[in-house]
Symmetry: C2
Subunit: 220 residues, 2 copies
């Protein structure tokens, strides 16, 4: 997956979306934000529930400029977010451990996005299409195979979207940056890279049809 | 990495740490919480900064019953958390996509921990030992090689700990659970597994000593 660093559509940072720490890692262009969102299976949603702050991981996907989450109508997160509670949505991919000559200069390589805003509920008649996009995100083609949601399943599901407009990406993807006086120290320095790996599919018994491409090619 | 499901030390859930959705996935024993924390490089910290909620990813590690984070004294997150702002810390590992016969029953396999509480600052004279533990978490043995923090580096760093006591783990690690009436549908069902992969180290030039074991064995 490549992260474009060139602004396609710039989104000027708001006061709260502006990156303050390590600002040289900040990106505010849509293409960068979208690529990080699209590479994620889950986001972390922070909001206030009564008098305490909560941070919950949940599946996320994108259509256009909107990040979506979903859940049971009965979920307290779905209820609070649907009411318009202010939210912060964060996605993080850790790409490596950065080993510098000094302990102080150790770091990590990562790609992250922080979104501020409020969710709003997807109307009943648009839910099916937005949930189809979740299926496309998990496995392109899957929606042609799996049984589509029936009316009661759609009714039981809350789907919420938040605009990816007040958003900032942060990327670190370089080697250690030691202080000048540490560069000659006889210490191994470099990056220990990490990435997400796909392991061979685990089949449920009872299916003898042709294996779909998103299964047979999962580890390609 | 194995996740023990057998309670070693049970932590009775508080009202806010009790898992409400999919409660059969909940675990409140220390061994399970610790294993999920120890498998993570970063956590997501949610807190309120003035009148808005914020969720920030940051490196995390554990010593005993405490999860630690660190940052520059100037960071607004460090300042707010050191003041005792209520916080929620969440760690999530995505282990697979769960493909059911019906779109509605699709799910993900994952291990997560949600911690409620407040951080407190590690005193000046204990910082070095807690930061050594971060080094041990990133690469056992590294602290013998890297230049240790000097006094000014230690002074510039805030180290904060939060007790892993008001904490709940949630684990889903099984195949699809379709409704009975969907089981006979001619649809491939199963799990598309995911895990973190370690890729070969990337060396910085200029070091010709022996390569440490945490580098040479990184991908083992």
């Amino acid at each position: 997956m490549s992260i474009s660093a060139s602004p396609i559509t710039a989104m000027p940072p708001s006061d709260r979306s502006r990156v303050r720490r390590a600002a040289e890692r900040a990106h505010y262009d849509q293409a960068t934000v979208h690529a990080i969102v699209d590479a994620a299976w889950v986001c972390h949603v922070a909001f206030n529930d009564g008098d305490h702050v909560v941070c919950i991981p949940t599946a996320s996907w994108r259509v256009g400029d909107t990040l979506y989450v979903h859940g049971s109508n009965g979920s307290r997160m779905m209820k609070r977010l649907a009411e318009g509670a202010p939210a912060c949505v964060t996605i993080t991919h850790v790409d490596g451990l950065v080993m510098a000559r000094s302990a102080f200069s150790h770091s990590m390589n990562y790609r992250s996005v922080v979104v501020h805003g409020r969710f709003s509920a997807v109307p009943e008649d648009a839910k099916a299409a937005v949930l189809d996009a979740l299926m496309d995100h998990m496995a392109p083609g899957r929606r042609e195979h799996a049984r589509a949601p029936d009316e009661s399943e759609l009714k039981a599901t809350t789907v919420l979207g938040i605009p990816l407009l007040e958003a900032a990406a942060k990327i670190r993807n370089w080697g250690p940056r030691d202080k000048d006086e540490d560069l000659a120290l006889p210490v191994w320095a470099g990056v220990l890279p990490l990435r997400e790996q796909r392991l061979p599919p685990v089949d449920e018994p009872g299916f003898d049809g042709p294996v779909p491409a998103y299964v047979s090619r999962w580890t390609d």
